[in-house]
Every structure is written in C-alpha cells, then in structure tokens.
Amino acid sequence: MSSLGKKYIMALSGLALVGFACGHMVGNLQMFLHPDWINEYAYKLQHLPYGLLWVVRIVMLTCVVAHMVTAVMLVIENYKARPEKYVAKANLQASFASRTMKYSGVILLAFIVFHIMHFTVQNIHPEFLHLETTLEGVGTIHHVYDKLLPLDRTTVHDVYSMVAHGFSLKFWYVSVFYIISMGLLCFHLMHGISSMFQSLGLRNDLWRKRLDRVALAAAVFVFIGFASLPLAGLLGIIEPITPLIASH
C-alpha cells in the first residue's frame, strides 16, 4: 500500500476513535448525576436492538486494529528510511506531542486492553459482575423493541457502583493509571486531531493554525471529561450505592 494510503487509514480510523471517545466521555459524565442515569443508560446500551452493540464494538475493534497495524508499518518504514542517525539533531519546531505519537499510542493500547478487562469483561474484579440494583419503570425502554413491555421494576447491573468501587481509594493506583493514560490521550489528540485533516488534504496555512487550536481544545476537553471520574474517585466524591460482595 502507498505511503498516502496508510496515512488515510490512520486519519480515518483515528477520526472514528475520536468520535467514539467524545461520545463515551459525555456518556460517562452521567456518573455525576443520580445513579439511575448511568444505570439506565448502560442498561439501554446493553439492550440495543438488532445487535447494534456488537456492530459498534466490531467497528471500533476494526478501527483500533487498523490504526495500530498501520502505525506499526509506518514506524518500521520510517525507522528503515534513516538507518544512520545524526549525532547532533536539532528540533526546529515540532511539538512534543507530534514527536511522541508512537509512545503515547502504545501506552494507550495497554490502557484500552486494561480498561476493557476492568469494566467490560470485569475479570480484573470478578465481583463487579454481581453488583445489581433495581430501576423503577423509567425512560423509554418500553419502546426499544417497538413493543410495550410493562416495566415496573427491572433488575439491572449497577454500573454506577461498579465505577465507584473501581475508582475507590482502595484501588488508588487504578485511578492514577487512568488519569495518566488520559493525559497521554490528550497529547495523542493534540497532534492527531489536526494531523488527520492534513493527511486527508483538508487543511491550508490559515486552517492549520485554527485546527491546531481546535485540536488543543478538544484534547483538553476529552482529558478533563475522562479524568474527572478517577479523580472524583480519589477525592471520594462518588460513593457506591451497592456494597461489594467478595467472590470466592
């Protein structure tokens, strides 16, 4: 594949990941509302019709794999293109973020794997699987399958308490890892969000400066949104509504 073809893949898969990350982040912020908000939201996502949840999961997985495999190919080719290094190499203007994309990317991959094991598969803390709570007949669950289900009380997975336990002081190192990873995501996006426009040929001198600012703002916005939860956990602001039962 041509060098530019690979750049298009990086940009398009990166765009999809950014879109996902923004939506995910806003969804997470419901943790700061009444527990029913996130629990109902999570219940609905889990019960999306037509297997939509798996469609989204497979699209995201494809994007992560495409992004990662292409990144590895690019990095190897770039490494081979300069077999002998300079002894004195000056840096003229390249930002720290732009020079460390491969490092921030690799740590993000480790983060993504851990994060999925932590809150999706829940095999880091298997007892998370047993957190349950009930929702009173709320929301539009009635309409999800285009039929009206009588819904007085539904037992749902208590996602609110799972996150609150996950980020509790007892597991402070997990929260710290999350915050550091989100800092790296912030750096990755500071370069990435502007860079993808260049890769796709949708940037000029004037817009480069504007997009650099948009990228910075978006990256910081994503960072604050994501990092606020583990931070709130460290500060003891969110408290679980269901206690953990140790599994044997």
């Binding site: 041509s2 060098s3 530019l4 073809g5 690979k6 750049k7 298009y8 690019l74 080719e77 770039n78 081979k80 293109a81 300069r82 077999p83 002998e84 290094k85 300079y86 002894v87 004195a88 190499k89 000056a90 840096n91 003229l92 203007q93 390249a94 930002s95 732009s98 020079r99 994309m101 370069h191 502007s194 860079s195 426009f197 260049q198 890769s199 796709l200 040929g201 949708l202 940037r203 000029n204 001198d205 480069r208």
Partner: protein, 258 residues
C-alpha cells in the same frame, strides 16, 4: 556588523566512499572572517588540509548563491544551518561566535547514501521528477501572454511551489526521512496550472509511487521540513498532494484517470 576574525572547531564526517564506514574528524580553523560564507570557511579548511598533505573534505556546491540547491550539509543538526530561509552557501560566518564548535554531517537517509565525506547521492529525486514532473504536450513557441488566462492567486501558488530548488533539506531534517515536501512541491507546481491539468491524476499517482519506491519514510505532519526549507515551501502543498492523490486513486479505481 563589523567584520572580525574568529576561530571555530569543526567536527566533520569523513568517509572515503559508500562502501566503507566513516567517522568524525576534528579540525580547528583560525582567522575566519565573519564576512566569509560557510562554504568559504570550508574552502579555507581544505586549503589548510592540502597544505598538510591531507585529503580535502568533499562537499557539494555549485552556484553559491542559493539557487541551484547543490550545497547540502547538516550543520549542528540542521540542514543548511540554523538561519531560516537560506542555503548553506548563503549562511555566513557572522552567524557564529569565536570559539564555536560546529558539527557538520552529511544528509542522512537510506535513499541518499553517502558517496564521500559530505556528498550524498540525491539521484532518487531525479527518479521522482522523471515519474511526472513534466508536461507531456508539445507547447511550441512561447504563446501570447494572455492566451491562457491564469488567476493571480493560482499563478502565485504555483510559483511558490516552483521555488523548490530540489536540495533535499526536507528529507534530511524530517525525523522520518520523508520526501513529501519536495514531491508535493513538484506535483503542486504543475497540478495547479492549466498546462498541467490534463495529466493531474497520473502525475500525483506516479510521483508518489516513485517517492515510495525510493524508500523514503512517511510523513507524520510534524512540519520540520517547512521550517528547514531554504525556500519556505509550505506544508499546504503536502495537503494538496494528499488531496490530489486521494482523488486520483478514486478515479483510477473507476478507470478514469486524467
């Protein structure tokens, strides 16, 4: 600035030919006039070396006025030295201080192997040009100036791209040894003009393929090339080439390449 004489210590890459390893040598040059150019300082050093019965340092140069793109040293880690918008031959010793240590290396990239000392083989740039850096129609004698209207903006943009002197500093400075700035300038200067339009798609496709084939690295949109370019060629041309190539690839898929 008044003229002075300074001494500098140079750490220069010496290599007999492409097949033997090279190494740095240290040389001291005294009484260098601050009015002399960097290349004149190198001449002075070479005279000194010849006097001592040593091999003079081989380096590329031709016009010595910043238009041919032949001079090609990496001075303290920056191709053409620390001053923006100038070539090595335009760099003057007044930019240095008495007692400075200066490291001089050849361009480093796989497609540009070192031939001798500071001279690298830049032939892959010719391969890129031969793949599409031309207009394939008979143009005959020069036509009337207004026969083919071109807007001022387009003419200016094309001229900006055409100011690329093909020195290869962009490849040398790029952390990935990518030749995107050079290639995009050469694609852009013709793709912008009506004379270049009929072959716009195949030019983008063929020149990018020649660039890839030569083993250059991939652009990571970092912008070091633009900063080091002695002619200030803009990253905009890379964006334009990315756009032209995407459109051309789509047209190629449907068999309607222009």
């Amino acid at each position: 600035m008044s003229e002075r004489n300074i001494s500098v210590t140079l750490k220069v890459w010496r290599q007999k030919n492409a097949s033997v390893p090279g190494a740095f040598e240290i040389y001291k040059v005294d009484s260098v006039s601050t009015s002399s150019s960097f290349l004149e300082m190198m001449d002075l050093l070479n005279e000194q070396l010849i006097e001592e019965d040593k091999d003079p340092i081989a380096f590329d140069h031709d016009c010595r006025e910043g238009i041919c793109g032949t001079c090609s040293m990496v001075i303290d880690g920056i191709p053409h030295g620390k001053k923006a918008l100038q070539t090595t031959c335009q760099l003057h010793m007044r930019s240095f201080n008495d007692g400075d240590n200066i490291t001089i290396e050849p361009y480093r990239s796989k497609p540009f192997p070192v031939m001798r000392d500071l001279i690298v083989d830049r032939e892959p740039m010719d391969a890129i040009m031969q793949a599409g850096g031309f207009v394939d129609q008979r143009i005959g004698a020069a036509q009337d100036a207004n026969a083919l209207p071109i807007s001022k903006e387009i003419a200016d943009k094309s001229m900006d791209a055409a100011s690329c002197i093909g020195c290869g500093a962009c490849v040398a400075v790029c952390p990935n040894a990518s030749a995107m700035l050079l290639t995009s300038a050469k694609v852009g200067q013709l793709n912008l003009l009506p004379q270049g339009k009929p072959e716009k798609d195949r030019r983008a496709l063929n020149m990018v393929r020649a660039m890839d084939g030569a083993g250059f690295g991939n652009c990571t949109n970092i912008g070091e090339c633009e900063a080091a370019c002695p002619k200030g060629v803009s990253l905009d041309f890379i964006a334009k080439m990315n756009r032209d190539y995407a459109v051309a690839s789509a047209k190629e898929f449907f068999g309607v390449v222009g």
